[in-house]
């Protein structure tokens, strides 16, 4: 179960990983590297055609790990804690990448092909979604 969840999450968050790696190898988008173009092409297709389908696949898994928080001292299962930690980490990574992209807008625009917009959308959307999944895992949506 865990294996399937993290495999799906890995694929789902792959564009974010691509943005992170291309940011690193292009020294903050100051150097022209083909990976920046490659991630852009892959991610724009992914964002356009598959992302929603992946999100709907992820949803039942995340819901399965969700907990209803009755009181503040309630024991939260270890697997849920790990999932929440991973989601929060992804939120932090997305936020940092979002900031880097904003700061390096001038450099990113030199790559053309609307790359700044695609990268900006990836990081901001994944940050929002990581938070939404965190909330879901904590059982906010199941609250009665």
């Amino acid at each position: 179960m865990n294996y399937i969840l993290y495999l799906l999450m890995g694929v789902y968050f792959l564009p974010l990983l691509g943005v992170g790696v291309s940011c690193y190898i292009s020294a903050g988008f100051t150097m022209e590297k083909s990976l920046v173009y490659f991630v852009n092409i892959i991610s724009s297709n992914f964002m356009q055609y598959f992302r929603e389908a992946f999100a709907s696949l992820l949803m039942p898994f995340v819901t399965a790990y969700a907990v209803k928080i009755g009181s503040s001292d309630q024991l939260i299962p270890k697997s849920t804690k790990i999932l929440i930690s991973v989601l929060i980490l992804l939120f932090i990574v997305s936020s940092i990448l979002f900031t880097i992209i904003q700061l390096n807008q001038e450099h990113l625009e030199k790559f053309g092909q609307n790359i700044f917009k695609v990268y900006n959308d990836i990081t901001s959307n994944y940050a929002k979604e990581a938070l939404a999944y965190t909330a879901l895992t904590l059982g906010v949506s199941l609250k009665k």
Binding site: A27, F29, T30, M31, E32, E106, H107, E109, K110, F111, G112, Q113
Partner: protein
């Protein structure tokens, strides 16, 4: 009787008129003829604009003349101006958006060699300035028309001056712009030596702190230094090439002064002089020959500086 005198006076009057016309033309003005063809960088299609010629005459008067449209994207200037000693003129291209206005400085060396000059200028359009844009420009760099690459990079340079924060894009842009400027100096006679030298020097100033961008572009420190040296040699060649042309045109005093200046400069940078085939002995000989002829010329004219010229000639001969 009256009719007879009128008949005999006619040929004299005609000759007098012709003589007057010729003397006015020769003494006061140089007929110049400039043809400009204007196209856009991308499609190389003719473009219309306002094209203006500007030059500063030797006595300091500003000459500004609008070129006449001759056809689509074709402009001509036919005029008699006193431009004998003008070395550089400027062509202003005033064009509507999205194209970029240009000012091109052309060396003409007093219109001595080519009183008729024709140019093909290009105008570039505002667009998205990206790595792909620069790569397109690189394809225009090494084949004529050389002004195409220059216009292509010029508009991008205006948007992204060479300053921090630096990236690979700026290094590629400014290096290629410098190459386009050098081509324009060599093949189109543009007066861009100072501009190109400044860019090479600016790139050098960023080299150590941003070596990774230069490495990615395969631009070495030596390449930049050699670029500066080539430009300096080219400038020396233009400047001291005038010794010969002044001598041929009987401007002996000017030739002598240039040769003397060359001798002083030679002591500071002998390698650059040797690179263009000028050595100390040759400069001495040029100065000596020029002073010798200047003395003869001054004596024939009864000029006041004969003694001074003789003294210079004697001192040079002693040194040789």
């Amino acid at each position: 009787m009256n009719n007879q005198s009128r008949v005999t006076a006619w040929p004299f009057l005609l000759l007098w008129g012709l003589g007057l016309f010729l003397s006015v033309s020769i003494v006061h003005a140089t007929p110049i003829d400039i043809l400009v063809k204007l196209s856009d960088v991308e499609k190389q299609e003719p473009r219309n604009a306002e094209v203006r010629f500007e030059a500063v005459a030797p006595e300091g008067a500003q000459i500004s003349q609008e070129l006449k449209k001759q056809g689509p994207g074709e402009y001509v200037l036919k005029g008699d101006f006193n431009l004998k000693n003008v070395d550089v003129y400027e062509i202003y291209i005033d064009i509507d958006n999205p194209f970029s206005k240009r000012c091109i400085k052309v060396r003409c060396d007093g219109f001595k060699d080519k009183p008729k000059q024709s140019h093909q200028f290009f105008v570039a359009k505002e667009t998205e300035f990206t790595y792909t844009y620069l790569d397109r420009g690189r394809r225009y760099l090494n084949s004529p028309p050389f002004d195409r690459a220059l216009a292509h990079f010029e508009i991008a340079v205006e948007k992204d001056p060479l300053m921090e924060p630096l990236d690979q894009y700026k290094v590629r842009l400014h290096y290629n712009y410098a190459v386009a400027l050098v081509n324009s100096i060599k093949y189109l006679n543009y007066n861009n030596i100072e501009k190109a030298t400044t860019i090479y020097k600016n790139l050098l100033s960023f080299y150590k702190d941003h070596k990774m961008f230069f490495d990615r572009e395969k631009i070495t420190e030596d390449l930049l230094n050699n670029g500066i040296k080539d430009l300096e040699a080219y400038e020396l060649n233009i400047k001291y090439g005038n010794i010969r042309s002044s001598f041929v045109e009987k401007g002996y005093r000017q030739a002598a002064a240039l040769a003397m200046e060359g001798l002083q400069e030679y002591e500071k940078k002998p390698q650059q002089f040797l690179a263009i085939g000028l050595n100390r002995k040759r400069l001495y000989q040029d100065a000596l020959d020029s002073y010798g002829m200047a003395v003869k010329q001054a004596e024939a004219e009864g000029a006041s500086d004969v003694q001074q010229l003789k003294a210079s000639f004697q001192s040079l001969r002693d040194r040789l």
